[in-house]
Symmetry: C2
Subunit: 198 residues, 2 copies
């Protein structure tokens, strides 16, 4: 129990660090925010959200890996976003609208995370001006990332997309399976193997 | 001159109406915001922003049509977003980052619009809590729209994409040329003609 409390205190420090990096929170605000995040330890391959369910949680991943994906016309997985240690993620479109999700969220590694629910999230948004700044920055980053992904898909070749990930986000190549990495890059596993071997 | 002033007063009322629909502004805030927007009358086919330029303006279109697009690997236009009368738009990724744009903005019809520059936009964001709410809602809508576009591209057939636009946003079919509509739907003009004729 003592060990678990120590671990949670450490993670709270990490979460505070991330929050302060994004917006100008004071210590009292950070305490209030951290009290809204609940710790969860989740086994690899757990599905946190399925298509058709409403996404009611926003995650801070302490250690591990979360992925959002959806199914293509042919039933293949299209990986949209992957998030690792000390970062945040959710199925944002469903979380915003509180309508059924088109995306899945699954857990690709044993993962320790902190979750804040929709009600607490939007209460913070009403109460704390710095939370508005935090959420605004998250939305700006999410929009810009999503736009670049779309542009990359339309303007870069498979090899160029792989090289871009290698240069800007190599953790994806180090930690994802070939299957997931291929679906992130929107190429077949065969093409990925061929590119990797060169 | 009197006519122009009357026209601007009318447009200011429309802009206030749109702003109040999105966030809970009071009259004093609306006056302050509207004083930051400058009127421009722009001829059809004008390019407001080219690839490589930094997007420094955010637009309220009173009457007309703005489009954002980028060039594919093969040099074809990919239309990302089209906005008509009484709505807003810009090249958001470049506007957020103040880095060179990947996108173009052009004007598809003779257009009357109001522009606010980046400095004024972010000053309002510092000064007015309701502007933060307004901008948050814009980002939420932009993210959700962009995500749905990407999902539609991967999960719907050309015919289904056309039908979806016909059901949810028929103004695109009524007012865009076949060339632009095809590039919005990510299909060839031949395919679009075939679908339309059925």
């Amino acid at each position: 129990m003592k060990h678990k409390n120590q671990q949670q205190a450490k993670v709270t420090q990490q979460l505070k660090y991330l929050l302060k990096n994004i917006a100008d929170f004071d210590e009292k605000e950070l305490e209030k925010i951290c009290s809204c995040f609940k710790f969860k330890s989740i086994k690899k391959n757990t599905v946190l959200l399925s298509e058709g369910e409403v996404c009611t949680e926003f995650y801070y991943i302490q250690k591990g890996c979360l992925r959002t994906y959806f199914l293509t016309r042919l039933g293949n997985e299209k990986t949209r976003f992957v998030t690792f240690d000390c970062s945040i993620g959710t199925a944002l479109t469903s979380f915003i609208s509180q309508k059924p999700s088109f995306e899945f969220i699954d857990v690709l590694e044993d993962t320790d995370l902190f979750a804040i629910n929709y009600t607490d999230f939007y209460n913070l948004n009403k109460e704390l001006i710095h939370w508005k700044d935090f959420y605004q920055r998250i939305l700006e980053m999410a929009y810009s990332f999503q736009n670049r992904s779309f542009e990359n898909l339309v303007t870069l070749t498979a090899k160029q997309r792989f090289e871009q990930v290698m240069n800007t986000n190599p953790i994806l190549i180090q930690r994802l399976s070939n299957k997931v990495l291929a679906s992130y890059l929107d190429i077949t596993q065969e093409t990925l193997s061929r590119i990797k071997s060169k």
